[in-house]
Symmetry: C2
Subunit: 457 residues, 2 copies
């Protein structure tokens, strides 16, 4: 869900892109972006952006939580933490301090499909961070002295971000219930009892299997050219030996969803009851041509911002919800989700909210969408993205996500153009094909009430 | 659920066991049963039963569907089929024909926790079936010529037993939704798209990893003694080399269930709408002492047969259900389930049935059970089992299930005695501890109605 302030800011730039589109030019994301592959199989992507003498340097691994061995949920994220715990050359905890001493920032992130590391730094320090990142790709040194305290850090992270956040607990139980077989149902941070059983050996096994250059992507965005990056990448990353053959990423395919699921989580800390509904739908990498783009537009029409159908009906007109949104989450390797979200106002119930939401969905299935809605949605979504990529790091991240979830550089570049070509019929088709209650889970997050049966323990 | 005819038959023998118990003797199941282990690690169990000169010969492997590699659901069951496809000595399909020519019967079965093979045959043919079973434990020969047609057989089996049976589809979606992480959520027969991808290599890999004598249990019941069996077992099975070290069976531990789940499957073929509820509870092998026995008794009191609370209230008094039952399923390695089941009569809805069922559960939580109910449940359950083990094959099977799901020969033998010692308080304790809606899924199987949202495809 996008916040309202972002939406307001976007409204200000939307006109510009309408003009650009009106002039008949084909919008391309990250124009000038090139890609090549080193001899050891590592892919390199260069995204020129000469507005300032800075670079965003990222290494992405084509591995995420959904690739974890069964029963070791959280190991991908745990390893991400441990990547800061030192090599022969760099002492534990020094990595980020060195980057900071050179005026840079760094961070890392783990999702179901990828794990990424990035630094943003002055252009002349690029070789430094490349050397450091290449070093920890093959020379990670871990001792229990640093591994075990870091596991406690992750345990605490889970405690504060999931167990103490009713909406996170809710989302976790919802996903784990929703997926019948696919590992997307397992939380990225890991189940508590499995985090507690993680150790140095499991992290190293995961590292040895997946952190090999043929499974990695280098992305450099900023004040650079391919001519500059190619020799640097060959010298620094091209020398790293392949440690493991990387098989095609085969996760269990989700079986058909045939039965509408529901779930209720009660948590005494909940003040605003929350409704969630998600449908299993194709992702950008599994959809038929045009379907994913149509789902993106459908999401925007139904629930993107305050002019969307859902917001207008539930929040503005009926005044039964404090907020309401819908969106398509399509940047996944194996499947996407189509999501609805609404908070009940004090004197309404989630049953009321759900009935209104179902009416909004039924209406779109029966009567379709309007040409005007489609145009507005296209302009808005394309503007969102163009606005977002004004940030060098966000543009780099769009390429990283795409490349680790089954898409190509070209897919990213041509996205605005493909988006433009989606028709009203295509949007109505995907709505009818995928917004079928049988493919969905509906969740209610509510405060403490008398239990229907059974006592708390 | 037990059928009414079985219950009627049991009623006829129950008196006998009351007498036996009244005399103060300790009932033991399978008295005279002994166990020993061969040098290669294969366990042997001998269950003497001299009523007739026949034997039941079984080999059980400590491996089932829950041990399958991710994405290869159905491979345990597929391999079970392929075990009849020949060795160097025995041509494909000949195994069962040889057994039949010698007047015997044979079969095989696969569950989440075990895979078993058995023959019932005249005592003097025991060495023959032992030789044949030992032969296929290490000499299985598979060619695509036999593997691929057998895969079609399994595909057809799935089609007829699951896809064409609304109640089976329902059960499959229910279990896959219910388990948040544990492989018990995957169907033993396998998902269709994963069965279709099974092949000779996957079956052989599973065979090589798990069909090794140190992972197997030989059970011989019938007109034999340990003195007779020991040299036979040593000669025939003791010579089989260990092919793989068998690690402890570690399946992912199920995370806490915190949110009550619901699911509705619509199928036009449904004539009697069906209600199911299951709670996740400990199994015999994971429960604290006495808990599993108490859950068994609670199941019987709530829904075991026509004198149970559920049947009396829903079927006899309210006449809103055509049948209603509850039971504890506890013979699992990692966790058990506590189950409710009811069919709605034509002029009632599942919502009515569920409300009545919830009232029955709430009543037992609030007001407990009576001493008389406890005594009746003990007599009935113990009689059930004693009656069942009048069948040599069923007694052997009880040992096989127990030994492959974390219990011991002694656990089986002392079960009636432990059952006798369960108190009313213990039953009320497990009810309050485990019949909490947060640990449950509730499923509705209904016929074709107008869909709430979305069209069929």
């Amino acid at each position: 869900m996008r916040s309202r302030s972002v939406r307001a800011a976007l409204a200000a730039v939307a006109g510009l892109f309408t003009l650009v589109l009106g002039a008949g030019s084909v919008l391309a994301l990250g124009e000038g972006t090139t890609t090549f592959t080193l001899d050891n199989g590592m892919q390199v992507v260069v995204i020129p952006d000469h507005r300032a003498p800075v670079v965003t340097h990222m290494v992405w691994y084509r591995v995420g939580a959904a690739d974890e061995p069964r029963g070791q949920s959280g190991v991908a994220h745990f390893l991400e933490h441990l990547m800061f715990k030192g090599t022969e050359k760099i002492a534990p905890g020094e990595f980020s301090r060195i980057v900071a001493r050179h005026g840079g920032q760094d961070n890392a992130f783990t999702s179901q499909d990828y794990t990424g590391y990035f630094q943003r730094i002055a252009k002349d320090r690029l070789p430094l961070v490349m050397e450091m990142e290449a070093d920890r790709m093959s020379n990670l040194q871990l001792s229990d002295e640093h591994v075990l305290p870091e596991r406690d850090v992750v345990i605490e992270e889970r405690r504060s971000r999931v167990d103490n956040e009713p909406a996170s607990r809710f989302g976790e139980q919802l996903d784990a219930t929703f997926y019948l077989s696919h590992p997307y149902g397992q939380p990225v941070i890991g189940w508590m009892h499995e985090i507690e059983a993680l150790d140095r050996e499991k992290a190293i096994a995961f590292y040895e299997r997946y952190y090999t250059p043929n499974n990695a992507i280098l992305i450099v965005a900023g004040d650079v050219t391919e001519q500059e990056i190619r020799p640097l990448a060959e010298r620094i990353y091209g020398q790293i030996p392949v440690r493991a053959e990387v098989a095609p990423r085969q996760r269990p395919k989700e079986p058909p969803h045939e039965a509408a699921q529901r779930l209720t989580l009660k948590d005494p800390r909940v003040t605003t009851p929350l409704l969630r509904r998600q449908y299993i739908v194709p992702s950008y990498s599994t959809a038929e041509p045009g379907e994913a783009e149509a789902l993106d537009l459908l999401g925007h029409i139904l629930g993107g911002g305050t002019t969307s159908r859902l917001y207008r009906e539930l929040v503005v007109e009926d005044q039964i919800a404090s907020y309401a949104a819908a969106w398509y989450a399509g940047d996944y390797l194996d499947s996407g989700t189509f999501n609805f979200y609404a908070g009940a106002l004090e004197d309404s119930t989630l049953e009321d909210v759900e009935a209104r939401m179902d009416a909004v969905i039924a209406d779109v299935l029966q009567n379709g969408v309007t040409e005007e809605e489609v145009e507005l949605a296209k302009n808005s979504l394309i503007a969102d993205t163009i606005y977002a990529v004004d940030s060098q790091a966000r543009l780099a991240r769009i390429f990283g996500v795409a490349l680790t979830s089954g898409q190509t550089v070209e897919d990213v570049q041509t996205w605005p153009d493909r988006m433009e070509r989606v028709t009203k019929d295509q949007i109505e088709d995907v709505a009818r094909r995928y917004l079928d209650i049988r493919y969905s889970i509906t969740g209610h997050l509510v405060g403490d009430e008398a239990e229907k049966s059974g006592n708390d323990q």
